[in-house]
């Protein structure tokens, strides 16, 4: 999701040609689900103004699930129009964050999600709807977010008939114990509709949180190449979990990821060139794979 959550927090606008090269490179490295942008007004996020073009190109790549973020009904209409495979609708569990970010209460967002679902069905569209419960582990504005409130919102959006929900640590407040507690609370209600974790590495716990969620049976994780993204108000602070480090964590444990590490690292180097002046994160690019994970081993692990 570097093309969306990564680039939206970086002031400079990446040219579409570079984004297409990134997308192609990520696909060639083995990625089969990519969040390519966001349908927000271009005046708010000029960095993502070319999302429709990216979706169109991404849809030509065989077997790729193409997702976009949509902040509201209008964005959802565009996602349906361009036949995205999945639209991610954020819903803040923090009342304060929801008001600050979308000028709506969480319950007003739930109502809008119900309208989105109705419009999707009325259009005969097969675009999946995933609701990402953001600030699920706490909020820089509000502080604590009650797990009971997260659970209430998960139930509410499932009642609207969405296809998936995910839990997001938008600000890097989660720890592995919190992750296991919240997933344990939510999974009995959501079942396999909850299969994704979104963790920021702001305080170094991103991969520990991924591991904690993996132990709860979660198998889908958001990440950004070079760990970009995160909070534009904290320059230099770590952002999302780095794609290449996440893939290493999983591959080292024998989990199939389908990623080619050489291509991932080469793509990260390209990205560093495109985003000159921005701080990239992650560790694998510098340390390299262990000599115990040679090409043959990796291929076996990924088979």
């Amino acid at each position: 999701m570097g093309l969306r959550d990564g680039l939206q927090s970086i002031a400079q606008v990446m040219p579409t040609a570079q984004k297409l090269e990134w997308l192609r490179g990520a696909y060639d490295a083995g990625q089969r689900e990519i969040e390519v942008g966001s349908f927000v007004p271009a005046r708010l996020l000029p960095q993502l103004a070319d999302t429709a073009e990216l979706v169109a190109f991404a849809k030509t790549l065989p077997g790729l699930a193409v997702s976009v973020l949509v902040p509201n009904f209008k964005g959802a209409e565009r996602a349906i129009d361009c036949n995205a495979d999945l639209m991610l609708v954020p819903l803040s569990a923090s009342h304060a964050h929801s008001l600050a970010n979308l000028r709506k209460t969480p319950d007003e967002v739930v109502t809008e999600i119900a309208r989105i679902r109705a419009a999707r069905d009325a259009a005969g569209s097969s675009t999946l709807i995933e609701v990402g419960i953001s600030t699920a582990f706490g909020c820089t504005l509000q502080g604590r977010v009650a797990p009971a409130e997260v659970l209430r919102l998960v139930k509410a959006v499932l009642d609207t008939g969405v296809d998936r929900v995910s839990l997001a640590d938008t600000v890097g407040y989660a720890d592995p114990a919190m992750v296991q507690e919240l997933f344990a609370l939510t999974l009995p209600v959501a079942g396999d509709k909850l299969n994704c974790g979104h963790f920021h590495d702001t305080r170094g716990l991103g991969l520990a949180n991924v591991y904690a969620a993996l132990q709860m049976g979660i198998t889908r994780f958001d990440a950004c190449l070079g760990g970009i993204g995160g909070c534009p108000h904290a320059p230099g602070a770590s952002g999302n979990v780095a794609t290449e480090d996440l893939a290493y964590l999983l591959a080292s444990m024998g989990v199939a990821t389908g990623q080619d590490f050489d291509q991932l690292i080469a793509l990260r180097e390209k990205l560093a060139g495109w985003l000159r002046g921005e701080t990239l994160h992650g560790t694998l690019w510098r340390a390299g794979l262990p000599n115990t994970m040679k090409a043959a081993d990796t291929a076996a692990a990924l088979a």
Copy 2:
């Protein structure tokens, strides 16, 4: 263990006065076990030549467990002489690493450990002996290290009568699954004599590995302020787990650490000044504590 594992991999020699200030600051921040140096010949590691002086000062701090690394019998004699509370003897599970590092096979090191234990007892000393099984999760020279070999060496050193053993990922090859597997294999043999994990963050998995070990009941972890240390042959690569990030992981989960974060972060800033030109690591220093972990919460968590 920044004063030992951190400084030994940094070329510049830190003046004794700064080390004493660091030691005092770490103690004031709440640390109650500190590895202050290593009894190796000064011509090999001039950075640690003042270890005896540091031990003498550290022994004046009430309630502090003072540990030193000793690579051989001669070093152990010095640790006993200066009445260190604990001496850490490294034993490489990798045959190749053991030969390269100590010019002895692992079994020759076991024999030396038996001599160290006999000398300690003959001297009526109460200095504890901990054997750190290094390269327990793999080795840059040898590649894979068989868990069975680690287990064999743990048994062998326990037979010599040492007080403790620990498992060390010296080169950053471990992942959480490997950690759980190796501790699960070793704990039934070592019992509570195995209570420490030493993880490098070379490939970003340091804290995930800590969490995995914590789940196995391990409650003692090595760390270096600012994540210094690691491999002198990989400039800029992450080193040991950062003390401040480790303390944050634990405190966030409600585990008592006794650490004062303001003091830890201030000390890290001092360290950055002393080690100007060296790359420090870690994330908490930049992001700060979550607003959900205010002073009152932290005090409660640490109570």
